[in-house]
């Protein structure tokens, strides 16, 4: 059997984590190719509905990267994201999904290494969790 290659959506905020991901590239760090990036201006743009859609359409993991607390370019967007994710994780549990499939990390523009490491870890974690079970939450 072919190895399970998870499908991961990465929502990255333009100011910190997207730049951090760029830095990982400029520094030629290596990480698995499973995550595909959707750039948002701020992590707070990520609507929980997007995350649920991703899971229901067959994504095995969802990653959200924002600025460190206190560093949000929009003052408080990352706090809003944090609150939404905490709530959403409770919903995921009720849907029977492992909450580890959703990950929020603060990665700054200077933390290319952290971005690469997080991608390695997260992909590995999702591989261990296996393919996402079929859910319908539309």
């Amino acid at each position: 059997m072919k190895d399970f290659e998870p499908k991961i959506v990465c929502f990255l905020c333009k100011w910190c984590t997207y730049s951090g991901a760029d830095l990982a590239g400029t520094s030629r760090m290596k990480y698995p190719p499973n995550g595909v990036v959707i750039k948002t201006l701020c992590s707070s743009r990520v609507d929980p509905q997007h995350i649920l859609l991703a899971f229901s359409k067959g994504c095995d993991g969802v990653f959200i990267g924002g600025c460190h607390p206190g560093d949000c370019h929009y003052q408080s967007g990352n706090y809003k994201t944090k609150r939404r994710i905490i709530l959403l994780k409770k919903v995921l549990k009720q849907l029977g999904l492992n909450t580890n499939r959703l990950r929020l990390e603060w990665i700054s523009a200077s933390e290319g290494k952290k971005f690469a490491n997080t991608m390695v870890e997260f992909t590995d974690q999702i591989k261990k969790l296996g393919p996402i079970p079929k859910i319908n939450c539309e």
Binding site: I8, A24, G25, P33, L41, R84
Partner: protein, 651 residues
């Protein structure tokens, strides 16, 4: 349906080596919406751009996806291509297949597959992109300069000379910064005060500059071109308009405080003028140490003041100003010498910092420019300079090089030799970094002619024996432990961002690097701009640097600010929030999520409206909207959903 052109860049071998661009071109040719596709060696080159232009005309394209490097690099390049071809620049999307694909993956199969997904998401987003036009706003033609050191002074003068108003805010009682403390400057050995004070005077007399000392910026609201600044000015206990500089108050003041100007090597009174050439030329009452705020306790200076300039009842004031641009020149402090206990600073009076030695060398310093050591006033016959004190020591202290210490230490040794002819200076160093105009010659002349002994190695410990300081170190060239008996030890301390800057940048939301220095927008190509629009960086606030570098950077920052101030309007990104009036129920949940106050409920129509100038486009309101009425232009829920579907399909 939109006719979309896809242009895949090889970036030389940077993309092509890991992403099979020919296969991508083949596989995406039939993707719905793709009307034209090609790959080329360098899309950003002139011929590459022409390929896009030609295709737009020949194939009558409605939009373009460029699969290349990160949008931070060439987004504006390709937007311009579209504009020049008669398309709206927002009909262009970049698929980042270099930084986030070819450079981080090694397997060609996997990287090509990922690149395909990235391009497809870009195509899906582009399909629903609207044509947008920048939102414009007027510019307040005034600049704020925070920090009155040499960098701030230079920037303020440049902007003011160009005919724009400048507000300067300085925390201390006088402008001048660290440069006014210095004796002479390398490599020309001209007197620091002599070259700085004319600039300080020019600033104080400039009709376009308003100076607030003893003041701090409390907050800056608004956006680029239109900032509202709140400045907190400490109570003016001495009215500068009335003070006639007679110095009577200082004579009667009973309180002694270590002098900041002399780095604690002399004393000042609680009412004082920091130094004779202080700007503004007025006395300052130091509230923390003054006894007179309770007039029963003291009150001597007010009794003595004939000009009646002293008012103990003065209070702090908040001043509001409107500006269009902000220059941050918040300067540096020395690395806290207490962090290196083995050097014995504080324990032994004859271990001093480099800034203290500058004061000893300075004609206006505590010794009048004569070299005496602090403990017993003897002329030091042997003096040890310790370079890299706290610098280049990632395990214990600062990891970085403080850049100026090699040169100023050498200058110290030279000036010392000029005054104490039979004295012997020793310099402990790791490397000598003399990369500046005429710096290397300065070093060579000193080593060959001045008899300065350089010892390559770090100092492990300093202690006192009798009246000598024993400096124990390692000579790494002879590989021997070395002990130097010295009369005075000068620590060339590393540089850190000024203490006050940490809180300020937090309040202003300015990005800093991991050392606390202000981050530039691009390390090479945008070195004087902050990532935050409308903020510019000058001097050591951005990193260690010497006076010529600070001055040129300040002029650079001023020039950048002037570009902004001299335009009549600034254009604001149109990637902002919008409201679908038909869907909006007027619940106003979104209003509370907006950090900028850009959303307001119209009480008549019961629909929320967006202030397009205030909106920064973060999107927090959109994910809060329960009805889907709030949308972000060109990043709507539908666009995100379509991109997710591509990724979820994995195809």
């Amino acid at each position: 349906m939109k006719k979309i052109g896809v242009f895949i860049c090889h970036c030389g071998i940077n993309i092509k080596d890991t992403v099979d661009v020919d296969r991508l071109t083949e596989e995406l040719a039939d993707y719905p919406g793709v009307a034209y596709i090609e790959n080329y060696m360098f899309m950003c080159s002139d011929p590459g751009q022409n390929h896009i232009k030609d295709a737009i005309h020949e194939r009558k394209l409605d939009g373009v996806v460029v699969a290349a490097c990160s949008p931070t690099l060439h987004e504006s390049t390709f937007q311009t291509v579209l504009k020049e071809s008669g398309l709206n620049e927002y009909q262009m999307e970049i698929a980042n297949i270099r930084e986030q694909c070819s450079w981080v993956h090694t397997d060609i199969e996997q990287a090509t597959h990922k690149a395909k997904l990235i391009i497809k998401t870009a195509i899906e987003k582009l399909k629903l992109n609207e044509s947008l036009y920048p939102v414009s706003a007027p510019v307040t033609k005034k600049a704020l300069v925070i920090g009155g050191g040499i960098a701030g002074i230079q920037a303020a003068l440049d902007i003011a000379d160009a005919g724009f108003q400048v507000i300067m805010v300085e925390k201390k009682p006088s402008i001048g910064g660290h440069m006014i403390q210095l004796s002479e400057t390398f490599p020309t050995l001209d007197c620091s005060q002599c070259i700085l004070t004319p600039k300080m005077v020019a600033l104080s007399k400039h009709k376009n500059i308003k100076l607030y000392v003893n003041s701090e910026v409390e907050s800056i609201d608004g956006y680029v071109g239109n900032f509202n600044v709140k400045i907190k000015q400490e109570a003016l206990y001495v009215d500068p308009a009335k003070c006639n500089l007679c110095d009577d108050c200082t004579e009667v003041c009973p309180v002694l405080v270590p002098s900041e100007q002399d780095e604690g090597l002399s004393w000042r009174k609680a009412i004082y003028i920091p130094f004779p050439q202080a700007i503004p030329a007025t006395y300052t009452l130091d509230v923390e140490n003054c006894l007179g705020l309770e007039p029963i306790a003291c009150g001597k200076c007010r009794e003595k003041c004939i000009a009646e300039a002293i008012n103990y009842d003065a209070t702090d004031t908040i001043i509001e100003e409107e500006v269009g641009a902000v220059i941050l020149a918040t300067g540096f402090d020395l690395y806290p010498v207490e962090n290196i206990p083995e050097y014995g600073y504080g324990k032994y009076p004859d271990v001093i910092t480099s800034l203290q030695f500058e004061r000893i060398l300075s004609a206006t310093g505590p010794t009048g420019g004569e070299i005496y050591r602090p403990s017993d006033g003897k002329v030091p016959k042997e003096i040890v300079f310790v370079q890299c004190s706290g610098s280049r020591d990632p395990e214990h202290h600062l990891s970085y090089c403080s850049k100026i210490c090699c040169m100023y230490t050498l200058k110290h040794a030279k000036l010392y030799k000029h005054k104490v002819h039979n004295g012997q200076p020793y310099i402990f160093y790791i490397d000598i970094r003399a990369g500046g105009k005429r710096y290397e010659e300065f070093v060579q002349q000193a080593v060959s002619e001045e008899g300065i002994l350089y010892i390559r190695g770090k100092v492990a410990k300093i202690y006192k024996e009798g009246d000598k300081m024993i400096v124990i170190g390692m000579d790494t060239l002879s590989n021997k432990k070395i002990e130097v008996k010295a009369d005075l030890v000068v620590l060339a301390m590393g540089i850190v961002p000024s203490e006050g800057s940490h809180d300020l940048v937090k309040r202003l939301k300015i990005n800093t690097d991991d050392k606390g220095f202000l981050s530039e927008a691009h390390p090479k190509l945008r070195p004087v701009e902050s990532l935050q629009a409308g903020f510019y960086l000058a001097g050591t606030s951005q990193g260690p640097r010497d006076i010529p570098d600070s001055v040129s950077q300040a002029s650079g920052a001023a020039a950048k600010a002037l570009i902004l101030l001299s335009s009549d309007k600034i254009y604001h990104s149109p990637i902002i929030a919008s409201v679908d009036e038909d869907l909006c129920s007027g619940c106003a949940i979104c209003v509370g999520t907006c950090p900028y106050g850009a959303r307001e409920l119209n009480e008549v129509s019961k629909v929320v409206e967006v202030n397009e100038i205030l909106c920064e486009g973060c999107g927090a309101c959109i994910s809060a909207c329960p009805s889907g009425a709030a949308q972000q232009k060109n990043l709507t829920d539908d666009q995100i959903d379509n991109m997710i579907k591509i990724i979820a399909s994995g195809k």
